[in-house]
Amino acid sequence: MSTQSILGLFQQPESAADAMDGLKEAGFELGTFDVLTGTPYPEGAFGEYVPQHRLFRFPAFGAIIGFTLSIFLTSVTQLAYPMVTGGKPILSIFAMLIIMYEMTMLAGVIATVIGIVFESRLPNMKPGIYDTRITEGWIGVVVTFDDDSKVADAESVLNKAGALEIKHAK
C-alpha cells in the first residue's frame, strides 16, 4: 500500500466547489483533499477546510527576543567602558530606547517572516502532484490517500463535478 494522489482540473470555481462537496459526502476525511489556485479566492469559496494558524505568536516571540538582546547590547556595552560625559549617567535611557525599539521591531519582522514560511508549510521541495495550468486560472482539486480502493471513488466524484482532466501520481 502506497500513498497516491490524484488531481482534478477545473476551469470554473463552482465545479471545483462541487468536487470538494462531493469528496466530503463520499467520506473522504478533511485534510486528505485540498484545492490549488493561482490566485487567492475568498475564504470558503470552495467549501474548503479553513486552516488554523498560529502566525500571531511569531512576531510577539521575535519581539521579546529582540528586546532582550537590545537591552543587553545597549546597557552592557556602555557599562563595559563607563566613561562619564558631562556628569551624565552612564546609561542613557532615551538613546537606548531608540536602539531597543529598532532591534525589537527587526526581530519581530524576521520572526513574522519565519512564521509565514513555517505556517505556509514551506519550504517543500517535493510538493506533490501539480499542474502548471493552475497559475493560468485553472483550479486543481487534489486528493491524497493510502488506500488504493479509493482511487475509483475519488475519480468518480471529480468526474461527476465536471473535471476537465484528471492526473495521477504515486
Binding site: D34, M103, Y130
Partner: protein, 459 residues
C-alpha cells in the same frame, strides 16, 4: 474604477511576465549604457577613496555637502515602498495592486544606494565599522549609542532587512508562476526560490494575514527611519537651521512626498516601456496624484512651521541664516527653484483631473517634485554650515566638485540599473494581486448602467 477591462489569467501572465519570458529590444542597450555609467562611477569612488576627500569640494566649515544631501534624498525615496504598500494594503485601497511591487523595490534599491553615501563620505569606509559594530571585545570599547550617527545605521539596516523580506514574501506566488512558465536553469532557480509554492488555501491565507501583519510592523519602522535621519541634524545644537524639534515629522512627510512622486515616475516608465496599459491605468495616476496633493500640502505646512518656529525666537543667528537661505545669491535662486518645483508648479496642476490622468504630465511633474525635494535637503544641510559665524574665518567655501557630481549621477544610474536587472528575473507588477482583483470584481447593474464593483471580504 470604471476603466478596467476584463482580462483572463493567460493574458495577464503573458503581459506581466514579458520582461522575464522575453527580452524587450530596448533592455540590453539600456542596461549596457547604465552598466558603463555604474562602472565609471565605481572607478571614481575608488579613486576618491584612494586619494582622499580632498577630491571633493568639502572644506571647512562645510563638511556635509552633496553626499549627505543625496543620502537623505535616497532615504526619502525609500519611504515610497512602505507608504504605498503597507498603508494602502491596510486600508484595502483597490488601486494599490499594480503599484506595490515597484514601490517596495524602490525602497530596497534606494536604501542600498543611500547606504553608500555615508560610507564614502567617511573617507575611509572600512573605519565605519568602528562606529557601528560592537567590535572591540578585547579592549571593551564599543560604539556610542548616544549618537544619532550610530542610531542611523541601526534604523536603516532594520528598514532594509524588513523591506527585503517583505518584498520576498510577496514575491512567492509570482515565483511559483514563473516556475510554471520556464524551463532549464531558470526553472531550477524559480523552483528553489518559490520554496515549493502550490497555492493552497493555507498558503494564500498566510499571504493575506502575513501581508497585513508585516505591513503593520513595517509602518512604525518607516516612521522611525526618517525621524532618526532627521536627528543627525536636529541634535546638532551649534548649527542654525538644523536644531529643530519639528524635524522628525517634517522629514517623514517630505520623504513620503518625494517617495510617492518617485513611484509615479516609475509607474509611467513601466507603462511605457513594458506596454502595460491594461494594468497601469490613468485611474492609478489619478489616485496617486490625489494622495500627493494631500501629502504635499501637509509637507508645505511643516515647511512653513519650521520657518515660523525658527523666526519666532528672534534669535539673531537664526534670522541671519534664514535671510541668507532666502535672499542671498545663490541660495535665493535655489530656494525659489525648490519652492516652484516641489510645490508651486506640480500641486496646482494636479488639481485638474485632465492633468492627473495624463501620464506624460504626471511623469514630468513627479520629476519636478524630486528635483525640488533634493534641493530642499541641500538647502537644509549646506547653508547652515556655510554661513559666516563668530570665530570662523572661512565661509561659503563649498562648491561641489566634478567627483561629487559624478557620484551623484552614478547613484541614479545604479538604482535604474538594479531595477532593470531585477525586471529581467522578477515581475514588477504582482500578478497574483492583479488576478485577485479580477476574481473580486463583478459588474453590477444600477438602473441601466453596468458598473464594475469590487467585492470585499468581511473581516
Amino acid at each position: 474604477m470604471q476603466q478596467r477591462r476584463e482580462l483572463d489569467q493567460v493574458y495577464t501572465n503573458r503581459k506581466l511576465l514579458n520582461g522575464q519570458l522575453d527580452t524587450p529590444k530596448w533592455w540590453a542597450p539600456t542596461v549596457t549604457i547604465l552598466g558603463i555609467v555604474v562602472v565609471l562611477g565605481l572607478i571614481v569612488i575608488a579613486v576618491m577613496i584612494n586619494k582622499g576627500l580632498g577630491m571633493t569640494g568639502l572644506a571647512r566649515p562645510v563638511y556635509w555637502g552633496l553626499f549627505i544631501t543625496t543620502f537623505v534624498f535616497w532615504v526619502g525615496i525609500s519611504h515610497a515602498g512602505i507608504m504605498i504598500s503597507a498603508i494602502l494594503r491596510l486600508t484595502q485601497a483597490e488601486w494599490r495592486r499594480p503599484v506595490t511591487r515597484a514601490a517596495e523595490l524602490l525602497t530596497v534599491f534606494s536604501l542600498l544606494t543611500a547606504l553608500v553615501f555615508p560610507l564614502i563620505h567617511a573617507g575611509r569606509p572600512w573605519r565605519i565599522a568602528y562606529w557601528i559594530m560592537p567590535y572591540d571585545l578585547a579592549r571593551g570599547i564599543y560604539p556610542n549609542i548616544r549618537s544619532p550617527l550610530n542610531m542611523d545605521p541601526v534604523a536603516i539596516s532594520t528598514y532594509l532587512t524588513g523591506s527585503t523580506l517583505f518584498l520576498y514574501i510577496a514575491l512567492l506566488p509570482d515565483l511559483g508562476n514563473l516556475r510554471d512558465r520556464t524551463t532549464g536553469w531558470k526553472n531550477a532557480m524559480y523552483t528553489v526560490l518559490a520554496l515549493g509554492w502550490r497555492g493552497n488555501p493555507r498558503q494564500w491565507k498566510m499571504q493575506t494575514v502575513g501581508g497585513i501583519l508585516l505591513s503593520a510592523l513595517m509602518l512604525p519602522i518607516f516612521v522611525s527611519v526618517h525621524s532618526i535621519v532627521s536627528w543627525d541634524f536636529a541634535v546638532a545644537s551649534a548649527v542654525e537651521g538644523w536644531h529643530s524639534t519639528i524635524f522628525a515629522p517634517y522629514f517623514v512627510i517630505g520623504a513620503v512626498h518625494s517617495g510617492v512622486s518617485a513611484v509615479v515616475t516609475m509607474m509611467a516608465l513601466m507603462r511605457w516601456l513594458w506596454k502595460w496599459d491594461d494594468f497601469i491605468r490613468p485611474e492609478h495616476f489619478d489616485a496617486l496624484a490625489r494622495l500627493l496633493i494631500v501629502v504635499s500640502t501637509g509637507w508645505l505646512g511643516f515647511t512653513f512651521l519650521e520657518l515660523i518656529f525658527a523666526l519666532y525666537g528672534q534669535d539673531a543667528p537664526e534670522i541671519a541664516l534664514r535671510e541668507m537661505q532666502m535672499f542671498q545669491w545663490p541660495w535665493n535662486g535655489l530656494f525659489i527653484l525648490f519652492f516652484l518645483t516641489a510645490y508651486a508648479i506640480p500641486v496646482p496642476m494636479w488639481l485638474f483631473k485632465r492633468v492627473r490622468t495624463n501620464i506624460a504630465l504626471m511623469f514630468w511633474t513627479s520629476i519636478l517634485v524630486n528635483i525640488g525635494m533634493w534641493l530642499e535637503r541641500f538647502l537644509i544641510i549646506v547653508p547652515g554650515l556655510a554661513r559666516r559665524t563668530p570665530f570662523v574665518y572661512t565661509w561659503e567655501a563649498y562648491r561641489p566638485s566634478a567627483v561629487e557630481w559624478t557620484i551623484f549621477i552614478w547613484s541614479f544610474a545604479w538604482v535604474t540599473f538594479l531595477m532593470l536587472l531585477f525586471s529581467k528575473f522578477f515581475p514588477l507588477v504582482p500578478l497574483f494581486e492583479q488576478k485577485e482583483s479580477q476574481v473580486f470584481t463583478t459588474d453590477v447593474m444600477i438602473g441601466r448602467a453596468k458598473v464594475p464593483a469590487i467585492i470585499r471580504e468581511a473581516d
